[in-house]
Each structure stands twice: as structure tokens, then as C-alpha cells.
């Protein structure tokens, strides 16, 4: 049991970092649709740089730069040129994925450095909890930190309040003297860098090595999890762990039920759709009107200005 929980938390770590990054981006009102491609290109770049430098850390830095650069293109073309974020994000999805396949072709099958395990002394000796939470490596601890800091920032800091203002009512934020587009640009870049780090985590920590199918569909799944989690860091993290559990289950069951192992990785998408339909249904809305607590727990509203361009006139 504790071993299973340990592997679920480890397997979900990159997904947690990536979904926190995308939550930050979308909370500011920008959609970075390119995750599927960003993730693949940063996984490849991270592996390539770590392979040549001989050190995993260099790979993480390079991957973060790649993720941030792609995000910067989406933010800049949206803010400066008023291009549609979805359109640019979609083109970059395909472009980055193909770039990764093309440039990474010669690296397939190579073995690179990996992130060393780092059990936390004393804490990892606590029975059960120690094994589950504190017997991991830096990537996993970073994923814990990402959840805590994102949540703290959103709901407990002044700048987090400004971030939400920019994503919900940019005109109001602008009237209060907030530089809407500057904030959006940097939050998008930050979110993209986190996606890049997640990419490197797949090729240097979770699966080791580069191949085209390394992160297949995980970028799309991350986008779905952010919606499923209603842009709330704790619920988004819960979604990521739920998917981690499905992945670990699929892995453990693949000898017993090979069919099920094929289906489980696809399951989150239909589940997310059902969840969205459920929350939208008049039945749920009636319950929500009577019990606001239930509505707040399950309901999810996208940031009101998500995907729009803010232009002061």
C-alpha cells in the first residue's frame, strides 16, 4: 500500500508541476494550448542537453527555457499582434512535437543522466508517511512545493489577488493601476517554464531516455485536468494524482488485464467530460442553489477573461 502510494505520487509529479503551471497561465487570462508539443520538445531538449553536459540539472534549465520560449510566443503574439491564442497554441503544438521528433531522432535509445533519489533524513523514517511523502527525489519535492506555493499565491497574497483580477476583470485591474498585459506575459512565461520542467522530468526522472511516444497525450490530459480541477490548485492537484493512480494501476494490471491497461490512460478524458456535463446539468444547479457549499466544492467557472485580448482604449 505505501509502496503504491509512493509510486503514484512519483508518477504524478511532472503532471502536477505542469498543471500548476497551466493553472497560473490560465488564471491570468491566457490559454497556452501548446502543452502537448511544449512538453515533447522540452523533454527532448532536456534529455539532449543533460546527455551532452553529463548532468541532469543542465537539462532541466534548458527544458524550462524551451517551455518558457514557446509560452512567450503565445503571449507576445496575442498581446502585441492580437493573434488568437488558440490558433497560435495549436500551430505550436504540432510544430514543437514535430521538431522534437526531427531533432531528437539520433538520441533515441541513448542513456542519459538521471535525477538522484534523495530521501529526506529523519522524515523518511516516519512509518508509512515517511515512505509515501519523503522517500523521493527533488522533482517530487518540487511538485509539492508547486502546489503549496501556487495555492498560497492565488488565495493568500496581494499579487495573487492581482493575478485573479487580471484574469477575471482586466478592465477593473487596469483601472486600479495594474499593468494587465505585462503581468499576463510573465505569468504565461512562468507557466511555460513549469511545463518545460515537467518535460525534462519525464525524460530524466520518470522514464529515462528520449523517444517520440515518451509523453504521448500527457499535454492534452494536463489541459483537461486544469478544467476538471476548476482552476483551483488543490483540486487540480487532486486530478493529477487521480490520473497518476490510473497510470500506476494500468501498469500493475497490464499482465492480468491487457485490455484494461490500454483503456485506463484514455479514461480521464471521458471522465472529465462527464464531470463537466454533470456540473452543468440543471439537477446539479438546483442542488447548488440550495447548498452553496456543494457548489463551491464541485462547480467550476473559468476565469472570465480567459483567452481574450485586453486592449486599453
Amino acid at each position: 500500500m505505501e509502496n503504491t502510494l509512493n509510486s503514484i505520487i512519483a508518477a504524478a509529479a511532472p503532471l502536477v508541476i505542469m498543471t500548476m503551471g497551466e493553472s497560473i497561465t490560465e488564471k491570468s487570462g491566457v490559454v497556452n494550448l501548446s502543452l502537448e508539443g511544449s512538453l515533447r520538445l522540452s523533454a527532448m531538449t532536456g534529455f539532449a542537453v543533460a546527455f551532452w553536459a553529463g548532468h541532469a540539472f543542465a537539462g532541466f534549465v534548458a527544458a524550462a527555457v524551451v517551455g518558457a520560449a514557446i509560452a512567450a510566443i503565445i503571449a507576445a503574439t496575442s498581446i502585441r499582434l492580437r493573434l488568437n491564442q488558440i490558433a497560435v497554441g495549436f500551430v505550436l503544438t504540432l510544430l514543437a512535437a514535430d521538431l522534437a521528433s526531427f531533432l531528437g531522432d539520433s538520441l533515441v535509445g541513448e542513456r542519459g543522466p538521471r535525477v538522484p533519489p534523495l530521501p529526506i533524513p529523519v522524515l523518511s523514517d516516519i512509518p508509512f508517511v515517511g515512505k509515501v511523502l519523503f522517500d523521493h527525489d527533488l522533482v517530487v519535492y518540487a511538485s509539492f512545493l508547486a502546489i503549496a506555493v501556487t495555492w498560497w499565491h492565488f488565495y493568500r497574497t496581494r499579487s495573487g489577488l492581482n493575478l485573479q483580477g487580471v484574469g477575471e476583470r482586466p478592465e477593473g485591474a487596469f483601472a486600479r493601476g495594474i499593468k494587465v498585459n505585462t503581468l499576463r506575459f510573465w505569468y504565461t512565461v512562468l507557466g511555460g517554464a513549469m511545463v518545460g520542467i515537467a518535460g525534462a522530468a519525464y525524460s530524466l526522472d520518470i522514464k529515462l531516455g528520449w523517444r517520440e511516444t515518451l509523453t504521448l497525450n500527457l499535454g492534452w490530459i494536463a489541459l483537461a485536468i486544469v478544467i476538471f480541477g476548476g482552476w483551483h490548485p488543490l483540486r487540480v492537484a487532486f486530478g493529477a494524482y487521480l490520473f497518476g493512480a490510473l497510470q500506476v494501476m494500468a501498469f500493475q494490471l497490464q499482465d492480468v488485464f491487457p485490455g484494461l491497461a490500454q483503456v485506463l490512460p484514455i479514461a480521464p478524458f471521458p471522465l472529465m467530460i462527464l464531470a463537466l456535463v454533470f456540473v452543468y446539468s440543471s439537477w446539479f444547479r438546483r442542488i447548488g442553489d440550495r447548498l452553496p457549499r456543494v457548489r463551491n466544492l464541485f462547480g467550476s467557472e473559468a476565469p472570465a477573461a480567459l483567452g481574450t485580448v485586453f486592449e486599453r482604449e
Partner: protein, 346 residues
């Protein structure tokens, strides 16, 4: 299309980036680029292969023009192609009778299959509150899972089940080709593809449905205010887009692969989105752009065979072209408006 100059600059820039990347991986850049041309137009059989790949891309792109006109991001197009192919395969495998009956029935079944799959995404949007991007993606995944299930399960090929696909269809259920110049020409698929572009162009330009659909796409709220039943128009757009995508799937199985394979869509759905983005959502330029793109795709398979390069280079080139054209067009439009403002014009 926007004005020609920025587009031309963007094309040259994309080509330059492509050359740099080829040098980076240690490939002879000009030989590689020549292979793209030679691999897609170098002989009668290669031209025929390019035209055969052009057809489903035309069909998918024409359908996407309709959904884009309604303001919809039909990312579910890949799944609609797949379900169209599944429906056509079902007919080709199970319907007895003369070949031409089977082929006609497969065409109808493919279109209906794609239509229904698209309506599912449509209903999720209009009545379930699920954005079409995510409903569509989810249905793409489900369709991909369904094909793998069919190929490994109920429709597995004789002998050992494998992801290489079902058994080959009986030969009179193949879409017939015109024998000429020593190769078979895919006349029916090309005609279907070109007809779809013309029909969509006429639909959006000259009919009440098309004009109102575009009104819905531009501003659904004001369209609803002047009495247009918005949801019905959105579902109509999904239905047309899905039917054409389903036809693309039919062409893939009955004219190209002659069996159902997991990669049946050929990626033509997503490539179609790039084509329509490059055509700036209009139907007029679809045919030449689709031909250009499909030539890159078909030609790039030669890079793998002849130079040992990854064939993803074709996608890299297509991606840079679309990105640069979009950015270049928006940038020059922006500059023009700034200049107008500086001269004090509105």
C-alpha cells in the same frame, strides 16, 4: 489570403529555418529539399500518390471551413475521420452485393458516421456546457481507442491479431482508379474533394444558411438577438464538418489503405486545421494550399527512405510556414493601422 508580400517573406523565412535545421542534423539541405519535390511529383505514380493524399485533406479542410465560419474549433475532426473510416470499414466488410453498391454504401456510411460523431461534440457544447475543444479531444481519444479495440478484437485479421490492421477488403470494394500512364489515378477521391470545396464555398457565399452561420460565428449573442436559432446553426455546422471529415475517412480506407489501421486518419484532420488557418478561414485558397502541404507530407517520407532523416521534417516545415504567415500578416496589419493612426486617419 492576406496581401502577398508578407506571405512571401514568411515562406522564405520558413524555408531558411528548414535549411538551418537540416544543416544542424548534418543532412545535405538542398538534396533534402529536392527530395520533397521529387518524392511528391517526381513520377506518374508519385503524383498519383500525392493526389490520393490530397483528397482526404481537401475533404477535412472543406469541413473545417464550415465549422470555423461558425466560430467553432473543431479539434474533434480527427475522431470524425476515424469514425467515418470505421463506418465505411463496417460496410465494406459486411455488405454483400456488387462492388459499386458496397462503395456507394460505404461513402454514405462514412459521411453519416462522421456526422454523428461531430454532433456528439456539438450537443456536448450546446447542451452540456463542454467547450468543443475538449469535447472534441475527448472524442478523438475515444475514437482512437475504438479502432485499436476493433483491430485487436472483433475485426482482428486472420491469424494473429496485430495493430497492423484488419484484413484487406475484398477487391471489388476498393474505390476504382483510372488506369493511365502505367499507374492508377484516384479520380473519384479527387472529384469528391474538389466538389466539397466548391460546395462549401457556394454554401458560405451564396446561401441564407451560410450568411446566417457566419453571423453566428462572428457574434453568437447578437445573432441570437436578431432571431437566429444559434444552437441549431452550430449543430448544423458540426454536422456538415463531420460528414465531410467522415468522407475523408472513407477515402482513407476504401481508396488508400483498403483496410482499417490505427493511424487511419493520417493526421489529415489536424493538418486540415493548419491549411484552413493558412487560408485565413476562407474556402478559396484551400485547394492549392492543401496540395502544397500534402506534397510536403508525401515528399518527406522520402527523407526517411533516402537520407535516414525523421519524416517529421515535413511537419516542421508546415508548422513554421503557418506560424510565420500568421505572425507576418498580423504584424503588417498592425503596422498599417499604426501608420494610419499617425496620419490621423481612422
Amino acid at each position: 489570403m492576406r496581401s502577398a508580400a508578407p506571405t512571401l517573406v514568411a515562406l522564405v523565412a520558413a524555408l531558411a529555418v528548414g535549411i538551418v535545421l537540416l544543416v544542424l542534423v548534418g543532412a545535405p539541405p538542398f538534396e533534402a529539399l529536392w527530395l520533397l519535390v521529387e518524392g511528391s511529383f517526381g513520377s506518374a505514380s508519385k503524383i498519383s500518390a500525392t493526389l490520393l493524399a490530397w483528397s482526404p485533406l481537401l475533404l477535412a479542410s472543406a469541413g473545417l471551413v464550415v465549422t470555423f465560419a461558425a466560430g467553432l474549433w473543431n479539434i474533434g475532426v480527427e475522431g470524425q475521420i476515424v469514425i467515418g473510416a470505421v463506418a465505411a470499414t463496417w460496410v465494406a466488410r459486411s455488405l454483400p452485393g456488387p462492388g459499386w453498391v458496397v462503395i456507394l454504401a460505404a461513402i454514405v456510411a462514412g459521411a453519416v458516421g462522421g456526422l454523428l460523431w461531430a454532433l456528439l461534440a456539438g450537443v456536448l457544447k450546446t447542451h452540456g456546457g463542454v467547450h468543443e475543444i475538449f469535447g472534441g479531444l475527448g472524442l478523438d481519444f475515444v475514437a482512437a481507442g475504438l479502432v485499436i479495440y476493433l483491430v485487436l478484437g472483433p475485426w482482428q485479421r486472420t491469424g494473429v491479431a496485430s495493430t497492423s490492421g484488419t484484413d484487406i477488403f475484398r477487391e471489388d470494394a476498393w474505390m476504382p482508379t483510372l488506369e493511365m500512364l502505367g499507374t492508377g489515378w484516384p479520380v473519384i477521391p479527387v472529384l469528391l474533394g474538389l466538389a466539397s470545396v466548391v460546395v462549401v464555398w457556394l454554401l458560405l457565399r451564396g446561401t441564407r444558411f451560410g450568411l446566417r452561420l457566419k453571423a453566428v460565428g462572428r457574434n453568437p449573442k447578437s445573432a441570437a438577438l436578431i432571431g437566429i436559432p444559434t444552437n441549431r446553426y452550430l449543430l448544423g455546422a458540426f454536422a456538415i464538418g463531420g460528414a465531410l471529415a467522415g468522407l475523408a475517412g472513407t477515402v482513407q480506407v476504401t481508396a488508400f489503405q483498403h483496410k482499417l489501421v490505427p493511424s487511419v486518419s493520417g493526421g489529415y484532420g489536424f493538418l486540415g486545421i493548419l491549411v484552413v488557418l493558412l487560408a485565413a478561414f476562407g474556402a478559396v485558397w484551400i485547394a492549392p494550399i492543401a496540395l502544397f502541404f500534402v506534397a510536403i507530407s508525401v515528399g518527406s517520407t522520402q527523407l526517411d527512405l533516402r537520407l535516414g532523416l525523421d519524416s517529421a521534417f515535413g511537419g516542421v516545415l508546415q508548422g513554421f510556414i503557418v506560424l510565420f504567415v500568421m505572425v507576418g500578416g498580423a504584424w503588417s496589419a498592425r503596422r498599417a493601422s499604426v501608420e494610419r493612426a499617425a496620419r490621423g486617419e481612422p
